[in-house]
């Protein structure tokens, strides 16, 4: 099937979930049909800038019946075999723009490991090519853009479907960006709107402004319900720290050790073989302790289907058991647990008084720093060494458009089964002594890692090995959200915290304020009255 002939159905949902600078507005679902129109990648990078009004069809991409662009969820309803790239190119005056690539909640997209790549804030590409390599359902991916006004001029968003790395066919659409006021869902500004499909020059866009969204210093002023400032400019660079690569060596490469994935039937057959005369008579010629050739029998937290295997007989040392099984030829595996949006509940400071813990299978419950994850995304992946049972859970957070691995937690996910009495002693008595060491405070190695993962509240004990396998097998977040009840008239009678510069005639309702002497000295009243005014302002006054 030629990808340029694909007709893609996309659903478009507006609204905003993530940024503190733009707050939720009512989602307006609309649909778009995108298809049949493609161009080359090179053409895309030098696009004709076309802007269309929300109600018109104008660009070369398809039909949009209404739109704002704070958040768009695209759901290509096609079978995608190959690589899907999302490319965004922005036209901005500065490089301070932030991007968030967001995907829909709890959907198939989480099964796809998405590499989040971008460079120089110019573009980023999301490859949905690992694993699985193909999708037979929709891939909801949302793009969320927020920016300061001088940064945000125009974005072009496209997705590329690549059957191969060489043949790139691009589906391109362009749309304007609109800020939406949080109060009453009234657009603050619809700059750049043009009638029909009339092209608008890029320079005209540069002149566009957002009245009332920013304070005098150009800081984001739209925080929470209204007002606010982010404080001083924050210029520290922020670089992506992504998941480490999967270790690419394997103990099986050495030919010293072999690992086999066995069905229960194969295991039973192997046990029968192991204890018959042929086995011992063969192996005893080579080893004084024949069972030493069997390193371990383990239950590992991966299904046989997840393992890289080849059909092979089970061979111990140089003795072929003639029992056919699957030989494992990869030692390290990646488990992608997917991503979760962590949304603010209250849209105020109370959200940041929420305590957030994460349960990690085989690692336990870990307390997270709320600032690391609130109003952002959290992504958990495991790297598992099936030979030793060691696993590391990586917690990748993104609250400002950049992913960072902010914590790693080690555990053990294999269950060892004793083959001999000596083996039993090693496995189980060793575990007991480890617990004893813990109690005595002389901890080390993996045990100390487990200890460091303990949360402030003891929600779980050790969850490694057997107990880990008996536990929940997927991570989950535990939110402990402060609960408050606020009077309906609270805002009018008490106001909210401000710390903003206000001209009194422009304010309304309740105002508690500090007026400095230079301001008050302009009032031709007595000193006593001036002090009364200062005192009343400090106590709080009610305006019209």
């Amino acid at each position: 099937m030629a990808y340029s002939d694909l007709t893609m159905q996309a659903s478009l949902t507006m609204g905003f979930q993530g940024s503190p600078s733009i707050v939720p507005t009512e989602a307006i679902p609309c649909t778009a049909t995108i298809g049949g129109i493609g161009t080359t990648l090179n053409t895309f990078y030098d696009p004709t800038i076309i802007f269309t009004s929300p109600s018109t069809v104008g660009d070369n991409a398809g039909n949009f019946t209404a739109a704002t662009f704070e958040q768009v969820i695209f759901k290509p309803d096609v079978v995608v075999n190959g690589i899907t790239k999302w490319v965004i190119k922005k036209y901005a005056a500065t490089t301070d723009t932030h991007f968030l690539m967001m995907d829909d909640d709890n959907n198939i997209h989480y099964d796809a490991a998405i590499n989040f790549l971008y460079s120089a804030y110019e573009q980023f590409t999301v490859n949905t090519d690992e694993p699985p390599l193909s999708y037979d359902t929709s891939i909801p991916i949302a793009l969320c853009i927020y920016a300061r006004p001088n940064d945000l001029q125009h974005y072009t968003l496209a997705w590329i479907m690549q059957p191969t790395a060489l043949a790139e066919t691009l589906y391109n659409f362009q749309y304007k960006v609109t800020y939406v006021d949080n109060i009453g869902s009234v657009p603050l500004s619809t700059w750049g709107t043009v009638s029909g499909d009339t092209p608008m020059s890029f320079d005209d866009y540069i002149d566009a402004t957002f009245n009332g969204v920013y304070d005098n210093e150009g800081q984001l002023a739209k925080i929470g319900e209204k007002g606010g400032s982010t404080g001083s400019n924050f210029e520290r660079p922020d670089y992506e720290i992504n998941f480490p690569n999967l270790l690419d060596f394997s103990i099986t490469d050495t030919s010293m050790i072999s690992m086999y994935s066995l069905t229960p039937g194969e295991l039973k057959a192997f046990a029968n073989y192991m204890w018959n005369g042929n086995f011992f008579s063969t192996i005893q010629k080579l080893w004084s302790d024949p069972l030493a050739n069997i390193i371990s029998l383990q239950r590992i937290p991966l299904t046989a289907g997840q393992l890289n295997t080849v059909q092979s007989n089970i061979i111990i040392g140089n003795c072929d058991s003639l029992i056919t099984s699957k030989k494992i030829n990869k030692q390290f595996y990646l488990i992608d647990c997917g991503r979760i949006n962590v949304k603010e509940c209250y849209k105020n400071f109370a959200d940041y008084h929420t305590t957030i813990a994460i349960y990690l299978p085989y690692c336990g419950i870990v307390q997270l720093n709320t600032d690391d994850v609130m109003n952002g995304r959290i992504w958990v992946k495991y790297q598992v060494d099936i030979f030793s049972g060691s696993c590391v859970a990586y917690i990748n957070c993104n609250t400002n458009g950049v992913w960072h691995i902010l914590s790693e937690h080690a555990g053990n996910c294999n269950v060892q089964f004793p083959i001999t009495g000596a083996n039993y002693a090693t496995t189980y008595l060793g575990a007991v002594s480890a617990v004893g060491a813990l109690a005595n405070g002389s901890v080390g190695g993996a045990v100390s890692n487990v200890l460091s993962m303990k949360p402030e509240y003891m929600r779980s004990g050790g969850v490694t090995g057997t107990s880990g396998m008996m536990g929940v097998q997927y991570p989950y977040l535990i939110f402990t959200t402060p609960n408050y009840i606020i009077a309906e008239s609270f805002r009018e009678t008490k106001g909210y915290t401000s710390n903003l510069s206000v001209t009194i005639k422009n304010a309304s309702g309740y105002l508690q304020a500090i007026a400095d002497n230079s301001e008050l000295s302009g009032i031709p009243c007595t000193d006593t009255e001036r002090e009364m005014i200062r005192s009343l302002l400090a106590d709080g006054i009610y305006l019209d």
Binding site: K494, L500, K505, L536, D544
Partner: protein, 145 residues
């Protein structure tokens, strides 16, 4: 002097009190020994309605007042309403708001908001995890042919 009397049903923290005019021409005499901020007035005896707020044009100020009858005279003890008297100037003040109904930042910690003793505990699972488990046997050697 002539004063204007009002009924004020607002408290002293209201920049623009809710006033109902009672009488525009009430004759009053300033008692000696009082000041412009807390004047005491002797009023004419023909007061027709109650009032609790006055405007003295000579002072260009508004006052809260308490009226009582003593020694065959109506006496009004007054206290200046500095807010309303200087409203035109106060309106132009540029101040740093600690709390406001109109200009606020909800992400600043607000200790006046009362939290309940019991928090809400909720859980959100990740979309995926460990899908199952299987047997694995590890042996020495194995590349024997």
């Amino acid at each position: 002097m002539t004063i204007t009397t009002y009924v004020n049903d607002s408290d002293e923290h209201m920049l623009s009190p809710n006033l109902t005019e009672v009488d525009k021409n009430v004759t009053a005499v300033l008692k000696s020994g009082t000041d412009i901020l807390n004047p005491v007035l002797v009023l004419s005896n023909n007061l027709s309605h109650d009032f609790n707020y006055i405007y003295i044009s000579e002072f260009n100020r508004y006052y809260f007042c308490k009226v009582f009858y003593s020694q065959n005279m109506y006496i009004a003890e007054c206290h200046v309403d500095a807010l309303y008297s200087w409203k035109a100037y106060i309106d132009e003040l540029n101040v740093i708001a600690n709390r406001s109904s109109s200009d606020f930042n909800t992400y600043q910690v607000d200790n006046t908001i009362p939290f309940l003793a019991k928090s809400r505990v909720t859980t959100v699972p990740f979309p995926s995890g460990f899908m199952g488990n299987s047997w694995m046997l590890s042996c020495n050697g194995g590349d024997f042919n």
